[in-house]
């Protein structure tokens, strides 16, 4: 189904308004109603939408309509600017430890989000940059999780460290880092089991990993198709475990991906990558402005 683009909708809103020099409160309100619908349709969290629209409204009312821009375009321009503002206007890289020091990255997220796949994809990216990654099988629960990581590691030609399913993830992480030191690996990526943000025991398991070893970057992997609950997930992972960056997965679908905006609004953490497919090369840099347009359906 093709989306009627936001631009079209806003043009309709303003069709009957005569051209004006300034945006009145009424202009702005009727336009923002459409914006609100578009954001909700895109799965941006209801409360985030409300606050966002309020912020845009305050800025837009009384704005001069610039030459060549009708009121609709003016509102869109402000919405866009505010979105890019909110999502950050720059791309962010994974912060690596300086020199020869080992960077430890921990993947986290809900079940099936795309962590194991992203683990292997990031390894491939870092390998191209001359790093020597080690992948660590810390998912001791999901059937064949270790085999999955091993197969992906093999495809990427990077080493995979595992101790089977009878050791605690924190212990596996600790042994893996010792192994990395001995074998000249300078990046360690911990693939952890999927877990619910409300599962106290499983969240404690991630905390235990962080108490046992130094984790430099905790990356939250979020399915781009996630709905209203994305804020709860992101907030809980950030509060309980601490999140440094976000990876949006399954962006090769046709979802508008409003979760991206919700997560950024709630955690303030940068989105580092978008995952664009099942192939292990399908990982791309995140561009906030492109995401803004996608969410708005433009």
């Amino acid at each position: 189904m093709a989306f009627e683009s936001l631009t079209d909708k806003l043009q309709n809103v303003f069709k009957n308004l005569r051209s004006k020099g300034r945006l009145t409160e009424e202009d702005v309100k009727s336009a923002l109603k459409e914006v609100k619908m578009a954001l909700l349709e895109a799965d941006v969290n209801f409360k985030v939408v409300k606050q966002f629209v309020k912020a845009v409204e305050e800025r837009a009312i009384g704005q001069d309509v610039m030459n060549g821009l009708n009121p609709g375009q003016m509102v869109i321009k402000i919405v866009n600017e505010e979105m890019v503002n909110l999502m950050g206007s720059e791309t962010t890289e994974i912060a690596m430890q300086p020199g020869k020091a080992i960077t430890v990255i921990m993947m986290a997220g809900l079940q099936g989000a795309g962590k194991t796949t992203a683990t292997a994809k990031i390894a491939g990216k870092l390998k191209l940059k001359g790093k020597k990654p080690l992948l660590v099988a810390c998912d001791i629960y999901r059937p064949a999780a270790i085999e999955q990581l091993q197969i992906n590691g093999k495809k990427q030609e990077v080493d995979v460290f595992s101790m089977g399913t009878d050791h605690k993830p924190a212990e596996i992480a600790k042994k893996a880092i010792a192994y990395a030191e001995k074998n000249g690996h300078n990046v360690v990526i911990l693939d952890t089991a999927g877990r619910l943000h409300v599962d106290e025991d499983m969240m404690a398991e991630l905390q235990e990993i962080k108490e046992t070893v130094t984790v430099h970057q905790t990356l939250l992997v979020v399915d781009a198709m996630t709905g209203q609950d994305a804020v709860n997930v992101a907030k809980e992972f950030d509060e309980k475990v601490g999140v440094d960056g976000v990876i949006l997965s399954k962006m090769d679908g046709d979802t508008r991906g409003g979760a991206a905006l919700s997560i950024k609004a709630v955690t303030g953490k940068p989105i580092l990558f978008v995952s664009m497919g099942e192939k292990l090369s399908d990982l791309e840099q995140f561009y906030p402005d492109r995401m803004a347009s996608r969410i708005l359906g433009m």
Binding site: M1, M37, L40, E41, A42, D43, N45, F46, K47, V48, K50, Q51, F52, K54, A55, E58, R59, E82, L86, L110, Q111, G112, A113, G114, R142, P143, A144, A145, E147, Q148, Q150, I151, N152, K155, L196, H197, V198, D223, M225, T226, G227, Q228, D229, V231, N232, V233, K235, K250, D252, G253, D254, T255, R256, G258, A259, K264, A265, V266, G268, E278
Partner: protein, 299 residues
């Protein structure tokens, strides 16, 4: 809720509950319009009565026919389909365990020959459920796995054949055509079997799930939904929008990662949970600097 009259604010709060539950803007608008009509016709004055009316009508809409589970008792082939990572393989394992417990002779077909270790994962589930499995070799042709499995099921007098398929996004043409082909093979090879195509939807998914259901329904007639990960805080409300538009019922929900964590869908419980909104404050938002001061976290 503490409303004294059925006014705009009251309807707005209902809309908020529905949208926060992932029902979506369109379905929510339609539901609330219908409600307003009923309130008028039935001369309802009390907000609590109005809310109850809404709850009851969604419960009724989501009710599942008892015939929905006939396949459990008949000779049937069930294809389990859906996008990546939603819980297909796990649900196949859980269903196999359940049907085996009910005394059915079950066979599993591992038609995901694509994802790394998909076969190993399903083999583990087959062993947990104590049922045999066919296929699962990485790189094999999934259509021929299905062909072999259907014929094995017939030869062995299997009651229920469960087919696990690879995750695929509904906008990938080739993969969707592959699914159409698998569906056709089952129809052709086993015309007498009771057919079910169950789409697995992640209960956390937002509006895209509606598109998924639409597109999967184009290549294989959907007979039901398995709504997974309902042990979390997401409400799975998109199932209401799907039921409205496509008339596909939710038959099971997934409530965990163990073999017993599959339940028949209960409309009452589902709708009650939908309205038991989590109004937890989502905290302070990281809005751009200039607005941060003026925008308070509570509306």
């Amino acid at each position: 809720s503490g409303f004294s009259a059925i006014d705009d604010d009251f309807y707005e709060e209902l809309e908020e509950i529905l949208i926060m539950g992932d029902i979506g803007v369109n379905a929510t608008t339609a539901i609330v319009e219908r409600l307003k009509q009923q309130v008028k016709e039935k001369h309802i004055k009390e907000p609590s009565e109005c809310k109850q009316l809404l709850i009851e009508s969604i419960k009724e809409q989501m009710q599942v026919d008892e015939t929905a589970y006939d396949f459990e008792k008949e000779q049937s082939v069930i294809m389990v389909i859906g996008v990546n990572g939603v819980g297909k393989t796990t649900s196949v394992g859980k269903l196999a365990g359940k049907l085996k417990d009910e005394g059915r002779k079950v066979l599993i077909a591992a038609a995901d020959t694509f994802r790394a270790a998909a076969g190993d994962q399903l083999a583990e589930w087959a062993s947990r459920a104590d049922v045999p499995m066919i296929g699962g070799k990485e790189g094999a042709d999934p259509a021929s796995v299905v062909f072999d499995a259907v014929n094995a099921a017939k030869a062995r007098g299997v009651d229920v054949l469960l087919v696990d398929t690879a995750g695929r996004l509904h906008n990938k043409k080739n993969l969707m055509e592959e699914l159409r082909k698998m569906n056709r093979i089952i129809d052709k090879e086993f015309p007498n079997a009771h057919r079910e195509n169950l789409i697995v939807l992640d209960g956390t998914t937002g509006q895209n799930a509606l598109v998924q259901a639409r597109e999967f329904g184009e290549v294989a007639d959907l007979t039901g939904i398995i709504l997974t990960k309902m042990d979390g805080t997401a409400k799975g409300g998109i199932a209401v929008a799907i039921q409205s538009e496509l008339k596909v019922p939710v038959k099971y929900i997934g409530v965990g990662e163990s073999i017993e964590d599959l339940q028949k869908f209960n409309s009452d419980e589902f709708v009650n949970a939908l309205f038991d909104v989590n109004m937890d404050d989502i905290g302070e938002l990281h809005l751009p600097e200039e607005e941060a001061g003026e925008t308070d976290a509570e509306e």
